[in-house]
């Protein structure tokens, strides 16, 4: 049946437009109840359970379905979703029997009223319909709404209706469900209790007007990690000045939470402040502390010179909340029997959240997830509700889960929809697959990877041609053959963006069947590949480049060590080894040439854990060893990436996906130059080449590790490399690799960027067909944005994982003293690196409960003088490593100085026992004070 829907819309130009849409009402949507004959075959989508096995409700003992209204669904679905509880959720979204339940907006009724009425009509329809279905089986539909008027009307119309709270409370079998209800108290209640702390947020229309006229500025709210009373707002837009605005004090922060998009008003210059250097953590437990807060705020406003003052503002309204569920721990209320508790998120930038729970004692000491529901004007903390219990603090699984959640790494198992696009097993190569594909199974191809690698995405070969030249092939797993554009599998991998490697776990980008089997170029099986084959002469000059889809059969899967062994042992002369030797020879030339061009060899202390095979606890740490073969594989991957980048950019100048590495601004290098100067070395930073050369020359015969340290420092000066779409940018240069153009082609199993590059290349050589999104540069730019974000988060998650395992390692190891080098000198601390563990840490010289030592900091050298000892960058020290568990949520490695000896500051080498590192005792000390 055709209905037309008419509505008015304001156009951007300010006009008003009448829009008419045709609505075709379906008459084939069934009720979803199993065994309903009236709706016949009209079943599709999720069906209702024939016998809703509901948790016994004291309000309605007979079996029933629930029909929540839109608001209940919106606010409670996350909190209260449990299989079987909300049986009819799915069918309420698409109201069944739409011909009978269609409701048109009436005069004097607004859109919300209409929706409410529509749901009521549907509930009524359901009840009548179910009655018709079978008389003996008294199924009922219960309408859940939190709107008082709506409920009254429903009861009037004879529909059994309850509020969400009433209903959940009546579920006597599951008392813990009530905790999960989002607490949305009605507006009326809020004003009554307590005094108002915050000023009101302005409505969106006012904010938009203000932003247009320039009175307010729009930006992203970034809370400070160190100080809960301070935040900055990054102003969106091109305007270079005033890019950052400081907000100070609870009232000026005005209930904004990290990552929210807010509107701020600049304060008059007389009220501007400087960013305080005080570290402040919110420890209050009571609501009435507002006066105290004000005192604290005053404390922040220390006298500072005028130059330090920064634009200061206050939040006038929220444009978009960016709340997510937060991980953290419960701080149990001091009052016994209290149901209201504060929740401390793991992320220090998120304020504490008040939640209501009856299971505080069981949740204590666990990592839990809490969602924010709202922040009323009279409340010191936002209100939230408990969502999930992750497990005990310190448990490996719990902590891994937390770090994945906190870094926004999608790690759920792949959905059925995604898995449905996997090839059916047993899989084999068919005739159809061979179309546009070259058969390279006869070639002597092998792969070289780290030990234990199951997702092998690259393999190599090298052979001598009849004309005396060398043919070198890089064969990459043909992932784009399996992941077809646009399907659920593609969307999911695009969302994940990258495989995340944690210390003992791998979060795959594509399902395991692909990553570890069909796409993994294992030896002695036929695999589909995308090959890049060069003809080179013996001085590694490329004569010809060819790209082709292919079928390969790898002859060996080697580890770096195995490959190295083969190359080094003169008596092995088989095909694989000759091939490897050829590759190695060419790689050396390539590398030399690359370095001549100014490519940087940087260094970062990479650590690898030796895991106990049973407990998966780290037993030992080891820095990664680099062999010739590592660099051999790397060299050819770089070459393939560059060749492919050239090709796709040639073919698609506007929408090639490339990777660039911007040159860092000269100021970034300051720290490196100064540090080197203190050792009488000169580092030139004007070009990448001069940097590389000066790094090479910076050797000290008495201090062999110095060069590595310098390279580590240089790495810190670099910018992030990013993906971008060639049509959206004109600077393609890759600074670190000294290549004018670069992309990622060689790891499609673990990076989505490579999948796109594969598709582009396949289109370019005519091996595959294109699709509209591939040639849409805005879509591509969006993909790049997501990929860059995912890569960054994956890196952070990896680091967090390493840090956690380092902690576990030192927990089992106890206290150790190790040699370390100073990396940075700060005003009140030194940052040291322990080469043995690749571990970096900070040694503080100011402690809360101790008198401050005399510190003189010199920014120019840079150096720090403590009492009579002077510390320079790269100085060798000895530190003691221990685990600080005083804060359960943020356990950290603590380092203190052992050598050189400074009385009163460094620890005597043997005096360890009187150190008190246990949290509770420390707290006690504070109380006594």
């Amino acid at each position: 049946m055709l209905k037309s829907k008419t509505f008015l819309k304001k156009t951007r130009a300010g006009g008003v437009m009448k829009i008419v849409r045709e609505h075709y009402l379906r008459d084939d949507i069934g009720c979803g109840a199993a065994g309903c004959t009236a709706c016949g075959g009209a079943h599709e989508g999720p069906a209702l359970e024939p016998q809703p096995q509901d948790l016994a409700s004291s309000l309605c003992p007979q079996p029933h379905y629930l029909l929540p209204d839109t608001n209940v669904l919106l606010h409670q679905i996350v909190s209260a979703w449990r299989p079987g509880t909300w049986a009819s959720v799915a069918s309420s979204l698409r109201l069944p029997g739409s011909l009978e339940t269609y409701v048109e907006q009436e005069k004097g009724e607004n859109a919300n009223d209409r929706n409410d009425r529509a749901i009521r009509v549907a509930a009524k329809w359901y009840n009548e319909h179910l009655k018709k279905m079978s008389t003996d089986n008294q199924l009922q539909v219960i309408f859940i709404t939190n709107d008082r008027k709506n409920k009254e009307k429903a009861v009037e119309e004879g529909i059994p209706a309850f509020t969400c709270e009433e209903y959940v409370k009546s579920l006597t079998a599951n008392p813990e469900l009530i905790d999960r209800l989002a607490c949305l108290s009605e507006e009326g209640n809020e004003i009554e209790s307590g005094k108002i702390i915050f000023s009101e947020h302005l409505p969106l229309s006012k904010l938009q007007q203000g932003i247009k006229s320039g009175t307010y500025l729009q930006g992203t709210f970034r809370a400070s990690r160190e100080n809960y009373l301070e935040a900055t707002v990054w102003i969106h837009g091109d305007n270079e000045e005033n890019k950052e605005i400081i907000l100070q004090g609870l009232k000026h922060l005005n209930r904004a939470i990290h990552e929210d998009i807010v509107a701020v008003e600049l304060l008059p210059k007389s009220q501007w402040v400087a960013p305080s250097s005080v570290v402040l953590h919110d420890e209050g437990q009571n609501e009435d502390d507002v006066e105290k807060e004000e005192e604290r705020e005053q404390m922040l406003k220390t006298a500072v010179s005028e130059k330090m003052l920064k634009p200061t503002g206050r939040v006038v309204g929220i444009i978009k909340r960016n709340w997510r569920p937060y991980c953290g721990m419960l701080s149990k209320s001091d009052i016994k029997e209290s149901r209201r508790h504060l929740f401390t998120p793991a992320d220090k930038r998120i304020p504490r959240i008040r939640i209501e729970t009856r299971q505080a004692s069981t949740l204590e000491g666990r990592r839990i997830i809490v969602a924010i529901d709202g922040w009323p004007r009279n409340s010191r903390y936002p209100n939230g509700h408990f969502v999930k219990n992750l497990g005990d603090v310190g448990e490996k699984e719990t902590e891994t889960e937390v770090l994945l959640l906190e870094h926004d790494v999608p790690h759920q198992p792949f959905s059925q929809a995604v898995l449905s696009f996997l090839p059916k097993m047993p899989w084999s190569i068919t005739e159809k697959d061979m179309k546009n594909r070259e058969d390279l199974r006869h070639l002597c191809i092998c792969s070289v990877d780290p030990p234990g690698c199951t997702d092998i995405d690259d393999a190599l070969h090298c052979r001598e041609l009849e004309n005396g030249n060398l043919e070198v092939g890089v064969h990459i797993a043909d992932v784009s053959h399996f992941i077809r554009p646009g399907n659920a599998l593609d969307q999911e991998s695009a969302r994940r963006g990258t495989t995340v490697y944690l210390c003992e776990k791998r979060i795959d980008m594509v399902p395991e069947l692909l990553s570890s089997n069909l796409c993994s170029l294992k030896c002695d099986v036929d695999r589909l590949a995308f090959s890049c084959i060069w003809e080179m002469n013996h001085s590694a000059e490329i004569l010809k480049t060819k790209f082709t889809k292919s079928v390969i059969n790898s002859k060996a899967s080697l580890t770096y060590a195995e490959a190295q062994l083969r190359i080094d042992s003169a008596n092995i002369r088989d095909d694989i080894t000759t091939s490897l030797r050829g590759l190695n020879k060419l790689a050396k030339i390539l590398k030399k040439r690359r370095i001549e061009k100014g490519a940087l060899t940087l260094s970062s202390p990479e650590v690898r854990f030796h895991m106990d095979s049973e407990t998966h606890d780290p037993i030992d740490l080891q820095t990664k060893e680099l062999r010739e073969t590592n660099s051999m594989v790397e060299e050819f991957m770089l070459l393939a990436n560059i060749s492919v980048a050239k090709k796709i950019h040639e073919e698609f100048s506007e929408h090639a996906l490339l990777r660039k590495h911007p040159a860092p601004p000269p100021s970034n290098y300051e720290i490196l130059v100064k540090a080197a100067r203190s050792r009488n070395l000169e580092i030139k930073t004007d070009t990448a080449k001069s940097l590389a050369e000066s790094l090479d020359q910076a050797e000290s015969p008495t201090f062999p590790y110095l060069n590595t340290l310098l390279r580590i420092l240089a790495t810190r000066c670099m910018m992030q490399a990013v993906y971008f779409c060639s049509g959206m940018d004109n600077d393609f240069h890759h600074y670190g690799l000294a290549s004018p153009i670069y992309t990622h082609f060689t790891s499609p199993i673990r990076r989505y960027a490579d999948v796109i590059v594969h598709r582009l290349l396949a289109v370019a050589i005519g091996a595959d067909c294109t699709y509209p999104e591939l040639t849409d540069k805005h879509k591509l730019a969006d993909i790049c944005k997501n990929l860059n974000y995912r890569h960054k988060m994956a890196q952070y998650a990896q680091r967090a994982s390493v840090a956690f395992h380092t902690q576990l390692f030192f927990k089992s190891k106890g206290l150790v003293s190790e040699e370390a080098y100073i990396l940075f000198v700060r005003k009140n601390a030194i940052v040291v690196l322990i080469p043995k563990y690749g571990l970096e840490g900070t040694v503080f010289f100011e402690e809360k409960d101790k008198p401050n030592p005399r510190l003189i900091y010199d920014d120019e050298i840079p150096s720090l003088k403590i009492e009579d000892t002077v510390f320079h960058v790269f100085d060798k020290v000895k530190v003691k490593i221990m685990l600080d568990s005083s804060n359960l949520q943020h356990q950290k490695i603590l380092m203190s100085l052992v050598e050189p000896q400074i009385p009163g500051i460094s620890l005597p080498p043997d005096d360890i026992s009187n150190m008190n590192l246990n949290g509770p005792e420390k707290k006690k000390m504070k109380l006594e004070k």
């Binding site: 008015l8 300010g14 008419v20 004097g108 229309s205 009175t215």
Partner: protein
């Protein structure tokens, strides 16, 4: 205009009939043919109406759009007329053939609405000098069977009656920048008062008598006709002679009297039918173009 081939004998027959107050289709000189009116026929307009008079078929759509008031009338909105002579009506209208007639009709419409009383233009003003509603009245000729002007004026009146203009509010902030806010209730709208909207009564001089609502054949017998726009109260707002013949003052007065008399009846019956249609509410079965 659409022409019809008529022999001398036929013309004499018609003229003699009119002389006796008996027309070819059995009507008297002051009788209209049956008028069919339906409003709200085009859903994406602000108001629309379709009028059938004999075989004359007119569709009028009114579209309300935001505009700026004219300089000389800063606190009034205004109406714009456009007449499209579809080639469906007669092959003569093909290409640009209907343009002259269209302009002529549009100009006539401008003239009859060019007074303070017909439509209260002040209700169309949103904010003086800045925003007002402009009503674009689009007339589409679907079929011609004589008496175009009358049929069009009836259709315009019906469409204006049907017009619903969304209610908007002007929000002003401290700096004086204005923003327009649209009411989100689709039933919240402005209606125009069509009380004083005139209708045209065309009188065709045939022989020494005059007839209202002439058919195409009768028009062919007439040398001169008089367009009189009359309001429901019998006030004449505009007078125009068309045709190549001349009229003596005596008969002009006579014709004006007739038009006032006929016009009042016409308005009364139109008004009552429009109200009756509206009282059926949104559930009314629409006839539209398939009826």
């Amino acid at each position: 205009m659409a022409s019809v081939a008529l022999s001398e004998a036929e013309k004499v027959y018609i003229m003699h009939g009119v002389q006796e107050d008996l027309r070819v289709d059995g009507r008297g000189c002051e009788d209209y043919r049956c008028v069919e009116v339906e409003t709200d026929v085009v859903s994406n307009t602000s108001g629309s109406a379709r009028v059938k008079l004999g075989h004359t078929d007119i569709l009028v759509g009114v579209k309300a759009e935001m505009g700026t008031p004219k300089l000389e009338k800063p606190n009034e909105g205004y109406l714009e007329f456009f007449v499209d002579c579809s080639a469906n009506a007669t092959p003569d209208f093909e290409g640009r053939g209907g343009d002259d007639l269209g302009t002529e009709i549009a100009n006539t419409l401008y003239r009859i609405f060019n007074n303070k009383s017909s439509v209260d233009l002040k209700t169309l003003c949103i904010s003086p000098r800045e925003h007002c509603w402009v009503l674009y009245v689009d007339v589409l000729l679907l079929e011609c069977d004589g008496n175009l002007f009358d049929a069009i004026s009836i259709a315009v009146k019906a469409a204006l009656f049907n017009t619903r203009i969304p209610r908007v509010r002007v929000l002003e902030d401290e700096e004086g920048s204005k923003d327009i806010e649209l009411s989100d209730d689709p039933y919240d709208c402005i209606r125009l008062s069509v009380e004083n909207v005139p209708c045209i009564v065309t009188l065709c001089k045939i022989g020494c008598r005059h007839v209202v609502d002439a058919t195409l054949q009768e028009e062919a017998c007439s040398l001169a006709s008089l367009l009189v726009s009359v309001t429901s109260k019998g006030v004449v707002t505009c007078l125009r002679k068309v045709g190549k013949g001349s009229l003596d003052p005596e008969s002009i007065f006579e014709m004006m009297e007739t038009s006032k008399r006929v016009g009042k009846v016409l308005h009364a019956s139109l008004q009552s039918i429009l109200h009756k249609e509206e009282s059926l509410g949104p559930k009314r079965q629409k006839v539209g173009f398939l009826g």
